[in-house]
C-alpha cells in the first residue's frame, strides 16, 4: 500500500549484456550500475521508465515500455476520450499544460 511505483515494465537479460557500460551512463537514477562481467540492475524500483537505457543498449538486453509519468497528460487524454498512453506530454503542443514546464532546464 501507498506505493504505486513498486512494479514497472523494466526487464533486463544479463545473458545478453556485453558490459559496455552505456546503461549505467545514461540512467539518471542509478538503476543500473557497472558490474564486473555484466551491468547490474541494482535499483529497479527507482526506474522512471524514461527508456534511455533500452534505446542505448547496443544488444537489446534491456526492454522497457517507456513513457512520461505525467498525470496531467494522462488525465487530459482520458478526459478527451483518448487512450491514456496516447496522451503525450502536453509540452510543446497547442494546449498549455502544467506538466514539465521548465522542469529540467538545468540540463544542457
Amino acid at each position: 500500500m501507498f506505493d504505486s511505483y513498486r512494479g514497472n515494465t523494466l526487464r533486463y537479460d544479463p545473458d545478453r549484456c556485453i558490459n559496455c557500460g552505456m546503461c549505467s551512463r545514461v540512467c539518471p537514477h542509478g538503476v543500473f550500475v557497472p558490474g564486473r562481467e555484466t551491468a547490474v540492475l541494482s535499483a529497479s524500483v527507482s526506474c522512471m521508465e524514461c527508456g534511455a537505457c533500452a534505446l542505448n543498449c547496443p544488444v537489446q538486453a534491456i526492454t522497457v515500455q517507456s513513457g512520461v509519468g505525467c498525470a496531467w497528460a494522462m488525465i487530459s487524454a482520458a478526459l478527451r476520450g483518448r487512450d491514456m498512453d496516447s496522451g503525450e506530454c502536453s509540452c510543446g503542443g497547442e494546449q498549455p499544460g502544467s506538466c514539465c514546464g521548465a522542469a529540467q532546464e538545468k540540463s544542457e
Binding site: 501507498f2 506505493d3 504505486s4 511505483y5 512494479g7 514497472n8 515494465t9 552505456m22 549505467s24 551512463r25 545514461v26 540512467c27 539518471p28 537514477h29 542509478g30 527507482s46 526506474c47 522512471m48 521508465e49 524514461c50 527508456g51 534511455a52 534505446l55 542505448n56 547496443p58 515500455q65 517507456s66 513513457g67 512520461v68 509519468g69 505525467c70 498525470a71 496531467w72 497528460a73 494522462m74 488525465i75 482520458a78 491514456m84 498512453d85 503525450e88 506530454c89 509540452c91 510543446g92 498549455p96 499544460g97 502544467s98 506538466c99 514539465c100 514546464g101 521548465a102 522542469a103 529540467q104 532546464e105 538545468k106 540540463s107 544542457e108
Partner: protein, 354 residues
C-alpha cells in the same frame, strides 16, 4: 512560407544519395552563428518570464550551429535544445572553452522533455548534423550530448546514419568543465537530484496554472458560503502548488496522491477546528462544516499533488497510472460528498432564515 520545404540540399554536399531531411528555409544560409558565454539582463528577464509560464512556447533559440570562442576543427561539439534556459545553461557553463554548439529544433522545449517526446532524438540529431555540414566543420567524429537527451537518442543509430559517435556528458551543464578534464562523469554527475532549488523554481508556473480555477472557486465560495470557505479553497490550492513542491521529500509515503492527502488534511486542520469550535452554530452544523474541510481540502490538494508527477523527476508511467486508478476515484468521491454536504448545509440554513 517555405520553412518546411526541403532545402535545395545544401546539406550533405557530395553525397546526393543520402535523403535530405533538411527543413531550413532556402533564404537562410546554413552558416555558423556566434554565441557568447555571457548571460545578459535580457537573458535573465527571459528566464524569469519562462519560469512564470509567460509566452510558454516562445523562449526559443534559432536551431543550427553556433561557435563559442574561437573553435577550430578539433574543438568539441555540444548538442542542446532550442529552449533559451537549456541553451543559456550550456553556453554559460562553457565560459572560456572554444567549442561548437549544435542546437536541435526541439520546438522550444527543454532537453529532457523533448527527449521524452522524441523531438530531441536520433532523427533530429542526424538531420542537424547533415544540415549544418558538421562533418566538414570538425575533423573528429564525436558529439557530446546532455545525458538527459538519452531517452530520445539511440547512439548506434546516430553512428550508423551520420558517422558521429555520441558521448553522453553529465546531467547538469554546470558540471561540464569538470567533466571535460577526463571525459568521464562521476556517479553524482549522472544523477538527477531534484533539490529544493529545483523544486522552488517550479512553483511560479504551478501557481500560474492553478490561479484561474482557484480564483473562480474562491469567488463562488465567498458569495455562497462566506469568507472562511473562500480562504479554505485558496489554502488548499496553495498547499498543492507551493507547499507540496517544497515538502515533497519530507512527506511520508511514495505516492504523490497520498502525500497530497496528508498535506491537505494538515492544511484543513485550522479550518476544521474553526468550524468545530463555532460557538453560535448547532452541533450538527459544526460537525458538517468540519467534515467539509476534511473532505474537500485534502481532495483538492491531492489532485494538484498528483498533477505534479509530470514536473517531478522520478515518477514512472506505470506508477502514475496506478495512482490515477487508485486515488482519482477517492478524490472525486471526497470532493463530491463535501460539496453535497455544503449544499445541504446551505439549504438548511436558508430554510431556517425563512
Amino acid at each position: 512560407m517555405d520553412t518546411t520545404q526541403s532545402c535545395g540540399c545544401s546539406c550533405t554536399p557530395g553525397i546526393p544519395s543520402l535523403p535530405c531531411g533538411c527543413t531550413q528555409s532556402k533564404k537562410e544560409t546554413p552558416g555558423i552563428r556566434t554565441a557568447t558565454s555571457t548571460i545578459t539582463i535580457d537573458n535573465r528577464f527571459d528566464h524569469f518570464l519562462a519560469r512564470w509560464g509567460v509566452n510558454r512556447m516562445g523562449h526559443t533559440v534559432r536551431p543550427g550551429l553556433y561557435q563559442l570562442g574561437n573553435p577550430d576543427e578539433d574543438s568539441p561539439v555540444f548538442a542542446s535544445a532550442n529552449y533559451t534556459l537549456s541553451f543559456d545553461a550550456l553556453r554559460s557553463a562553457l565560459a572560456g572553452i572554444d567549442a561548437y554548439l549544435l542546437v536541435l529544433d526541439t520546438k522550444g522545449i527543454n532537453v529532457w522533455c523533448a527527449a521524452g517526446k522524441g523531438t530531441f532524438g536520433s532523427a533530429e540529431l542526424v538531420r542537424s548534423i547533415e544540415c549544418t555540414d558538421l562533418a566538414h566543420v570538425v575533423r573528429h567524429r564525436t558529439i557530446i550530448l546532455p545525458q538527459l537527451g538519452a531517452p530520445g537518442v539511440s547512439w548506434p543509430e546516430v553512428l550508423r546514419r551520420s558517422g558521429f559517435k555520441v558521448e553522453y556528458g553529465p546531467v547538469r551543464a554546470s558540471d561540464l568543465p569538470r567533466y571535460l578534464k577526463t571525459h568521464t562523469a562521476t556517479p553524482e554527475m549522472r544523477r538527477v537530484l531534484f533539490l529544493l532549488a529545483d523544486r522552488l523554481a517550479l512553483i511560479p508556473v504551478e501557481l500560474v496554472h492553478a490561479a484561474l480555477p482557484a480564483i473562480a472557486g474562491a469567488l463562488i465560495l465567498f458569495f455562497f458560503a462566506g469568507p472562511l470557505a473562500a480562504l479554505a479553497a485558496v489554502t488548499a490550492v496553495l498547499a498543492g502548488t507551493v507547499a507540496f513542491p517544497i515538502l515533497l521529500p519530507f512527506l511520508p509515503t511514495r505516492d504523490f496522491s497520498t502525500k497530497g492527502l496528508i498535506l491537505g488534511t494538515i492544511a484543513g486542520l485550522p479550518f476544521a477546528g474553526t468550524f468545530a469550535l463555532n460557538p453560535s452554530g448547532p452541533v450538527w452544523m459544526n460537525a458538517a462544516g468540519t467534515g467539509m474541510a476534511f473532505l474537500v481540502m485534502p481532495a483538492v490538494t491531492a489532485y494538484l499533488a498528483l498533477n505534479f508527477t509530470g514536473c517531478s523527476t522520478s515518477t514512472s508511467r506505470t506508477g502514475v497510472k496506478n495512482e490515477i486508478f487508485r486515488y482519482v476515484p477517492v478524490m472525486a468521491v471526497m470532493a463530491a460528498s463535501g460539496v453535497v454536504l455544503g449544499i445541504l448545509l446551505g439549504l438548511l440554513g436558508w430554510l431556517e432564515v425563512i
